[in-house]
Symmetry: D2
Subunit: 425 residues, 4 copies
């Protein structure tokens, strides 16, 4: 397998092992408060049961690393090869995606045993000499696992939203930060030929490469994401009732699904409350709006007399900012208000994934990875929009300015929000 993922020149196997153990442990720590029952159910085709996420991330190492490393590798359980294959046709058959919630066996305990088995094998591999050439796949596997850490959070939130008793995923014993949001400023960027995409030795997914030139007209970007206060003004102004603000497909979805607010918002005695991973809470006006679809983000921007940024515009701005913010490590699992509005771009990392107006496609000169990993990113380059910047459910070490997330325009269950852009005046 000729892997061209960008990884540090000579990955230190010792460092890799400790990072491996750290990432794997983080996944399990995330699920510690769940009951076995919670880990079974699947609330829609696009979401997966927590138990399935736990097993699939093990499967990834088994199918793409252990099978290659050890001739005659014996699988922990033969049937897992099909059950926990997500979409890799080159590995083989897959269990029907929409039926994942019917897999009550293996039990949660058995899935943890599976993970331990995989961990032992991978550590053996890294301790020995047979990992040659597979370090980079293990590296991909860790980033893959971090993606599923975020999905565990978004999927359990979606599942819990069907329960009238509003189960709490994580109790909070702290008050979330509060501060009043100020007016966003428009940050100007000049026209010119910019370099977009990833270069250099650090890890990046294939879809971030190759670095290439793009001409951008001058533009302005809002200094912070759109807040609930601003979004409520859109709603009050009839935002969900005015077809002229919406893309045609978006208006059709709105009518079919009776959208009248972001996902998880509920009206309760004339005030809006929202479901969070820490239970129902009032919609706080200074927080970035979250759980909106691309269609809602686009309609809001049109209403506001602006537009969404392209992913290139976003990336140019992000490269000027430090990678810091409200990530999963903060423990809030929800966007928080920006502490203060400085001179620079704010909250561009963390809090909410920001929808861009860019459909997800290949960069000029893009080559998918060889082998099974060719299916990782490239085959989804249609009907999806790019989001950037990570969210309050993303691990900090997972994000970078060139990172491209992608979801269909109607998706709302991710921690997705928006930031405005406009052409230079």
């Amino acid at each position: 397998m000729n892997l061209s993922f960008k990884t540090a020149g000579s990955p230190d196997a010792g460092g890799l092992k400790s990072r491996y153990l750290q990432v794997r442990a983080a996944t399990e720590a995330l699920c510690a408060g769940l009951h076995p029952e919670d880990t079974v159910a699947q609330s829609m085709d696009d979401a997966s049961p927590v138990k399935w996420h736990l097993a699939h991330t093990g499967w990834f190492f088994e199918a793409l690393v252990l099978e290659k490393a050890f001739g005659g590798y014996r699988h922990f359980r033969d049937e897992y090869r099909v059950l926990f294959n997500s979409y890799y046709n080159s590995v083989g058959e897959q269990y029907t995606r929409r039926n994942r919630g019917l897999l009550t066996r293996p039990t949660l305990r058995e899935v943890y045993e599976y993970r331990q088995h995989v961990d032992r094998c991978i550590c053996d591999l890294l301790d020995g000499s047979s990992a040659d050439g597979l370090e980079s796949v293990i590296e991909v596997g860790l980033h893959h696992e971090q993606q599923h850490q975020e999905l565990i959070l978004t999927d359990i939130k979606h599942l819990f939203s069907y329960n009238p008793a509003c189960p709490v995923f994580r109790e909070q014993d702290r008050q979330p930060p509060q501060c009043e949001s100020t007016e966003p400023r428009w940050l100007p960027f000049p026209e010119g030929l910019y370099t977009i995409g990833h270069a250099g030795g650090d890890f990046a997914f294939d879809n971030e490469t190759p670095a290439h030139r793009a001409w951008l007209a001058s533009f302005e970007l809002a200094s912070r994401p759109v807040t609930n206060r601003e979004y409520l003004a859109f709603m009050t102004d009839g935002g969900y009732r005015r077809p002229e603000l919406w893309l045609s497909d978006g208006w059709a979805v709105l009518r079919q699904q009776n959208w009248n607010a972001p996902l998880y918002w509920r009206q309760c005695n004339d005030t809006w409350v929202t479901l969070t991973l820490s239970g129902l809470q009032p919609v706080r006006e200074d927080e970035p709006v979250v759980h909106v679809s691309y269609y809602e983000a686009d309609a809001y921007a049109r209403w506001a007399g602006a537009r969404l940024p392209t992913e290139q515009e976003w990336e140019v701005a992000a490269k000027s900012a430090p990678i810091e913010g409200n990530f999963v490590e903060s423990g809030w699992l929800h966007p928080v208000p920006v502490a203060r509005d400085g001179d620079n771009v704010q909250q561009i990392f963390g809090d909410v994934w920001e929808w861009t107006q860019s459909p997800y496609g290949s960069y000029p000169g893009y080559r998918p990875l060889n082998g099974e990993l060719a299916e990782y990113n490239g085959k989804f380059m249609c009907n999806q929009m790019v989001l950037r910047g990570g969210s309050c459910a993303t691990p900090l070490s997972h994000i970078r300015p060139t990172y491209r997330n992608f979801f269909p325009p109607q998706a709302r269950w991710q921690f997705s929000g928006l930031r405005l852009a406009r052409d230079a005046r």
Copy 2:
């Protein structure tokens, strides 16, 4: 509430309490071998999670007995009143049926606590004097719980069928009875005016009443149900490929769902195997065929040059036979061959529910119960066919000759088989 369920003239509260405890314990014993994960999932709209069955049968006593008995009764959990209401509009709102598998909370442990709470309250009620007039509802509740015992078995079997690992619900350490089935005999019944339906003081559901007269032409009934051997002959003769054998609606379902054998049958190296609650096993030719729809039963009968009996014909024959057979108490949880072919009708109780050609409707003079229980049976009198006799998953004490079960003609996940009838020559 003016209850007119037929119950013994003066129900002995002491006897009722012991029967109550016995039936409730039987439900829990049935589920003892399941993991919490197994009790969450719902494999189709018509089936429910085991956990839901456990809670709903408690709900029944809470909503229809405890609320009436105790002014200001405090519910175990307020939200359960909606979550575990199946279809009683007169009690109130219901949680969406097809989403029952999304209710990961309450956990299995909490559901058992709920059941214990209900049990304590009912026992208090039966120990005291406040049960006046509610004994008959409790009686209904016990028969209701027995119905759900059977559904727990059929629903978990259906769920497990989606798991490629074929989970075993109950291990068997015995060999099932084996014996060769002989040719069925045609038992003759003369034309005449017969009494159909339930009369007398014992318990019966409202849909079995009133007893009434019906004129039957002379007919003949097969001495035993159709076996797998006979059904395989139908299959070999192109039974699933010949539209002239099928009802129009049945042929449409067959084509849409690609039926080519009873539910749970799989072809494996040129032999048929079938999923049972004790794992995969070969299709044994001397056992009654099971898990066929009304459409398949009807097509088989047409192919065999016979027909299905009416429910009146079946009842006339069943009244001449003792209530004995392969019920849930035998522990097989699967039909077994008939031991020998005597002079009388065989296997008319137990083993498999027998499809009749009678659509489920009301008897002449039928009156539904008053109050909430009016919704128990009457509102389903459309688009369903009557099955008779109980199955290997039915409690023995639940069945009687006048008992009417009913399912839509395409349903296959119940333990449903058939017995032939024909007009007298």
Copy 3:
């Protein structure tokens, strides 16, 4: 082909030819006012384009008579054998039912040429000697054609209901009869053993045979159908908002399709108007209610403290009445009020098909016809309810007391109404 349809002992071929020509001409007369465009469209799977009806009724004679009569019969067009086969698997393949509206060719003119070709061949046959044994099939074909005459009317009415301009099928230059309906009387019938079904030499469909005995408990039948006035009282009393009045399946359909009145009713400035084949008109209170489903009929009866009659009860009453009433020949194509309330049963024939509580099934001893005609009636004996008595769209010569019509319980586009029954007091 061993035909056992009941037909007059020795059908007079001369009489048959003249009746043939009369029935065929009546079909075409019915369609005279339609534009070619009107005859193409299909408004739902259960309805067919007028052009298709015109062709299919010709196909019936071609496939079931001419092919048998003439060795080497040359079809008018080969492809019609598939295009216009409705559901006869024994004849061969069928064009997809739901796509009939896509068959813009053959044109209407070509379909009429097809009909003329068939007419010539049938007349040749009846003039010659080769019809031996096929007269009875031709007889079936004429009754079949009369059924399609009624379907042409119900299907074009359904189609026109989608056009906001409310096209008129037939202008009326007369005022419809008006008279005030009086209270219906309850006509008593004693219990006893009755003969049900058709006997004797006249034509009847196989599903009306054999004549057989049935025991009926004493009952009472309303002297006339339910009127719009009565039905409006049901609506005003919340009939469409009270689940306790409805069968479970009916309530589900009501909610899914937002039923709040009979089909074709529209509220217009606080009054109800209804679409008729002669355009929009006010809902006239003295007319029998029409275009209600079985579910609505059943709910109305429950609300009224009564029930629907069984088909046996209806037939017993109908046998005492002359076959007269508001049939298609009156030209109203809509129910009219009863002229006066005499001593006997009123409007039992014509005006509206009356839903009975009887599921459509086989009579004891029923044998379908041999050959292709076996598919005519028997294969539909599931999931349908029996209606009796004919309607304002039925030819008078088509109806008789034993005639059994059948439709699924949710069907509303036929001219279907109801009459109440109750158990004797």
Copy 4:
């Protein structure tokens, strides 16, 4: 209304009138051979009946020109304002799109009368002085009508494909051009900053503007579209059975719809034939492949070791070529082989629309038109892919190098094909 469509500086009203009459007449000439029946039916939601196209193109002038020009303009028929509104929410309500085939009235004759009425009014307008400012809308209306001319052809072809008799839209009395296709050459284009989009005074749609700069890496473009011969090689090599060649969404559609060849291809005695507007004909290997979806085009390109061009790359190449080719005026209504392979790019205009890898979106600085025409293009900028170059069903005067057509990636009923591109070596 502040229209900013690019039109010739001062449009000459006289020239406009003659062009108006010419375009309108061309629409009707196209439909001359159809029967009234042919113009009614709608074969899928995305297609419309011919009669509806004829009326809608009249509606466009009525709603967007005549209503503005004449205060108190009286509509030809009031109900047409809703019936023939396609998707303009700013004009008002619309008749349900998927039900257009149920509108048997107005008849074809009435629709032609409607068109004549509109024509008279527009001519009056252009003869007088009241058109001030509306010339540009009339201009849009003519280009709009040309778009519907092409849709009439694609939609009737789709409709006729459901008829087993394969109706012929236009007889051909000539043999189509034949010549052997040669190997395509790779035409090189250097990297650089190019101007993309429309500038200048000629007509263009808003989505082609503004002209803007884009940086393109060096690339190569095939000198001609992919032929049936080449596409057959892809099929023979398992193209439709190898998931690794397909986008994930494309593979899902392929499996759901059982794609195994381009739309309209049928296998007949081991050879492929295809439905054309002139009837069934063999698949001719030298013709450009047509009626493939984006998914198929993309899979073919991957199989061929190449890729689809971006719309920018395509436009750069097209600007170097004369606008000539096989357009609707040739009368073939089907792609034809390229006459000879010259030095330049071949068949870049006409024959087949060429899928690009560019999702349909807005150009930098894009502003939709004001007023109702804002809905013309902008609201569809999601979930669609850009096609370029026009087809054998496009009017020659309708096309230009900057013209952007767009359809969802699964669409196949347009005359869509492909041309390969690749990165420079």
